[in-house]
């Protein structure tokens, strides 16, 4: 029996939540489970191109530890999930509009396009939904 798809609504820009979203998405994708990630609100800022690595991730005490101990980079984990599994990432069209960005302002190779929340919610009715 095919695994139920996993849908992740990623809104937080906190490093810790980005990291957990990246871990969940990549591990599920490489475990033959389809995954779709919808990135909106503050989370989209972490996916901007040309951001200094030290400034990309903002968070609390655990964020400092993740950086100090060189835990896997969250964007790299998302990329691995795409390369090795069935992982799609969507940029929230509203967040892009509010920010005044086009999709090409985001990290190359990660996003499958811009999408509205209505379509993502409709698609997600077939699977498990997680919000971070």
């Amino acid at each position: 029996m095919a695994a139920s798809p996993l849908y992740i609504l990623l809104c937080s820009g906190e490093h810790e939540k980005l990291q957990m979203a990246a871990m969940m998405a990549s591990v599920a994708a490489v475990s033959e489970r389809p995954v779709e990630v919808f990135v909106s609100m503050n989370a989209i800022l972490a996916f901007a191109k040309d951001v200094d690595p030290g400034a990309r991730y903002q968070g609390g005490a655990f964020s400092r530890l993740l950086k100090e101990r060189h835990a896997p980079d969250a964007l790299t984990l998302f990329q691995q999930g795409k390369d090795l599994g069935d992982l799609k990432m969507w940029a929230c069209s509203m967040a892009l509009d509010v920010q005044g960005w086009d999709i090409d302002r985001l990290q190359d190779g990660l996003f499958d396009g811009a999408l509205g929340l209505t379509k993502f919610l409709s698609d997600s009715e077939t699977g498990q939904f997680v919000t971070l």
Binding site: V27, V30, S31, P72, L84
Partner: protein, 76 residues
């Protein structure tokens, strides 16, 4: 003839060792084995769980002095 390749993932945090294993499995032939050395405590359970889920073969998991040694055979 089947070959065995070693991945030294000691010092890598979850899910790094699993990702390194999966990337390596893409590059070897069916029947080849990958030996993963991992100091991540979760790997000893996470990697066998993944292997069973995606239908490769677990050869063995052993605890060494400073790491886990996990051997996987590519089955498909």
């Amino acid at each position: 003839m089947a070959e065995r390749r070693r991945i030294d993932a000691r010092g890598a945090f979850c899910p790094g060792p699993l990702m390194e294993l999966i990337a390596a499995l893409k590059l070897v032939s069916v029947g080849d084995e990958i030996e993963v050395l991992s100091s991540d405590k979760g790997s000893a359970k996470d990697i066998p769980e993944w292997v069973n889920k995606v239908h490769h073969d677990m050869v063995g998991v052993t605890q060494e002095s400073d790491c886990w040694r996990i051997v996987v055979r590519k089955a498909k």
